[in-house]
């Protein structure tokens, strides 16, 4: 009983040491306290008539922002990981150099330019933002999946084959678990970039945390800009810390079970 409690306390202390957790708490606090920031903004920017953005609540904006990022990253993960698996199979090996080249070239494309290119095709609103974010996020995920699967040592694969694993089992029980930390790192990269690009997407009419920033910039209202910018920055840093935590877990947790 006592040891139970002690391990519980130890676990809570470990959890409390996670900066990701505190950043999340801070993020939520900032989102809900922002409407009360009027006096602070008035003090910072005395000349501004309306110091707090009221067109949509910050909670709504954050939710819309998270939705843009989540939908696009999820779609990109499915396509990217699927494609990465395909080119590392026997039947798809022919395309592996091309996939590597596309992933490398795609990552040199500036995200803003990709966003700009999808607008003429898809028009304004959330659709081009989601498409652009998804398109952009595919590249790092493909690259990470290929690196991850190729990092599995050949002897490991041979041993599994010798033990009578079917190709499908090798993929699900050996290759993907071992490649998981790499894929997670690629996903982290993609999500962080997408959080930033989604904010710019509001220039094309998508509702996101970028909306107060863009509106503040065009109406010369630095208070709006600051409010949007602080929350986006907190969101990105908190997401990054959470991914770092997941990466730690995947490395030290029970996910690696070769053979």
């Amino acid at each position: 009983m006592r040891t139970d409690r002690r391990s519980l306390i130890a676990a809570m202390i470990r959890l409390a040491r996670r900066p990701g957790l505190w950043l999340m708490v801070l993020l939520i606090a900032v989102i809900f306290l922002m409407p009360a920031a009027g006096p602070l903004m008035r003090w910072l920017f005395p000349g501004v008539p309306r110091p707090v953005y009221t067109r949509a609540s910050f909670f709504e904006l954050t939710l819309a922002h998270a939705e843009l990022v989540a939908i696009s990253s999820l779609a990109a993960a499915v396509i990217g990981i699927g494609f990465g698996i395909f080119v590392t199979r026997e039947s798809g090996r022919e395309f592996a150099p091309m996939a590597g080249a596309i992933a490398a070239t795609g990552q040199t494309f500036p995200p803003v330019a990709v966003l700009a290119l999808t607008i003429p095709v898809l028009g304004y609103g959330a659709a081009p933002a989601i498409a652009a974010l998804c398109l952009y996020a595919i590249f790092p995920i493909i690259a990470a999946t290929i690196t991850g699967i190729e990092s599995v040592p050949a002897p490991t694969r041979d041993a599994a084959m010798g033990m009578g694993f079917a190709p499908r089992d090798i993929l699900w029980r050996i290759e993907l678990p071992l490649a998981f930390p790499f894929i997670l790192a690629g996903l982290r990269n993609a999500v962080i970039i997408n959080i930033g690009t989604a904010a710019i997407g509001s220039a094309a009419g998508a509702l996101s945390l970028g909306s107060p920033i863009i509106e503040g910039l065009s109406a010369s209202n630095p208070a709006y800009v600051l409010e949007g910018a602080v929350i986006v920055a907190l969101l990105a840093v908190a997401a990054d810390r959470c991914f770092a935590w997941l990466e730690d877990l995947s490395r030290h947790g029970g996910l690696e079970q070769p053979g």
Partner: protein, 331 residues
């Protein structure tokens, strides 16, 4: 369409060298053919329409991307040497410019938008490059001493990398936004800064933000490059009487060169992309066309900004790739 079918058929040709060469030719035909076709049909359309009408490139425009991809892939598979690659690239550019000079594209609205803005285009392009160069310069100015510090005192390394990492995760638009308030306060308090043109918006905060973003890839590249020079190599150099300075110039620097160049490559490509966001805070650059175009529903204007940004990034990538090849060959 026939071109695309031909391209598919070509994949059955046996000899790899011949195949990649033929693929390049076929893709080139598609590329030039569709460009010429677009120009031609635009001209036909415009003869019957009022002068204010515009002919935009449709989604079929993406076929061009497929053709370019096929060329790049063929080059990769054909394993051509670098001079051959440069020649092929130059031939494409030459063909494109010849067609443009002949007036093939004059009726496309993209070309119209471009020629309407030709004067501004050059200034904005130069401003864009100026932002990138200034940011890289300041990043080197801060990054090199920072790397030295990190190499000497390993205790600070963790702290430096952690804080630069956090900085890197902050979205560009947010950092630009956060910088506005303190920068404008600063220029209010210190008149000499205002006389220098340093303000809450404009190029000054843009360069500061771009420099901050450049620090992490730069310091990380330099740090891994210099710290991975093998102990034995350094010992050997000391044993044959190399001084600290000679060691740095003749041993450490050449061995670390590939990593240094990769760091610089990431910095440059990243800065080219981020500089287009800087247009939002009035720093100018090619992003001006992108955001102006989005704001005015002038989608061809968006392309006038976006395509050169992508080309610049690809060019920078190619340039550093060549330098990297050279540095690796020297080893």
């Amino acid at each position: 369409m026939t071109g695309l079918c031909g391209l598919a058929l070509l994949s059955f040709v046996r000899r790899p060298k011949l195949r990649s060469f033929a693929t390049i030719l076929a893709a080139a035909l598609i590329l030039w053919g569709s460009l010429a076709g677009a120009g031609h049909f635009a001209a036909l359309l415009m003869q019957e329409s009022p002068p204010t009408a515009r002919a935009s490139l449709g989604p079929a425009f993406w076929t061009l991307a497929v053709a370019i991809l096929a060329i790049a892939d063929a080059m990769q598979r054909g394993n051509f040497v670098i001079p051959a690659r440069v020649c092929i690239g130059a031939a494409f550019c030459a063909g494109f410019f010849l067609m443009a000079a002949a007036g093939d594209f004059d009726d496309l609205s993209l070309a119209k938008e471009f020629s309407n803005n030709r004067g501004i285009f050059v200034t904005e392009l130069l401003r864009h490059l100026g932002l990138v160069c200034a940011a890289t310069f300041f990043a080197l100015l801060i990054g090199v001493p920072l790397t030295m510090l990190v190499l000497r005192k390993t205790a600070v390394a963790g702290f430096v990398f952690a804080s630069l990492g956090i900085l890197q995760t902050i979205p560009s638009i947010a950092l630009f936004g956060v910088l506005i308030a303190p920068m404008s306060k600063l220029s209010e308090q210190l008149p000499f800064l205002r006389d220098l043109g340093i303000n809450g918006t404009g190029p000054a905060p843009a360069i500061i933000a771009l420099t901050l973003y450049s620090l992490l890839p730069l310091v990380r590249g330099f740090y891994t490059g210099l710290s991975e020079v093998a102990r034995e190599v350094k010992d050997a150099a000391t044993a044959i009487g190399f001084g600290a300075r000679q060691m740095f110039i003749e041993v450490e620097l050449p061995l670390a060169m590939p990593a240094l160049l990769s760091g610089l490559r990431v910095v440059t490509i990243q800065a080219i992309g981020l500089a287009s966001v800087a247009a939002l805070i009035g720093a100018g650059g090619l992003g001006t066309f992108i955001f102006q175009g989005i704001g005015q529903y002038a989608l061809d204007l968006v392309l006038v900004g976006a395509l050169p940004v992508i080309l610049l990034a690809l060019l920078a990538n190619f340039f550093f790739e060549m330098l990297l090849g050279l540095a690796r060959r020297k080893l």
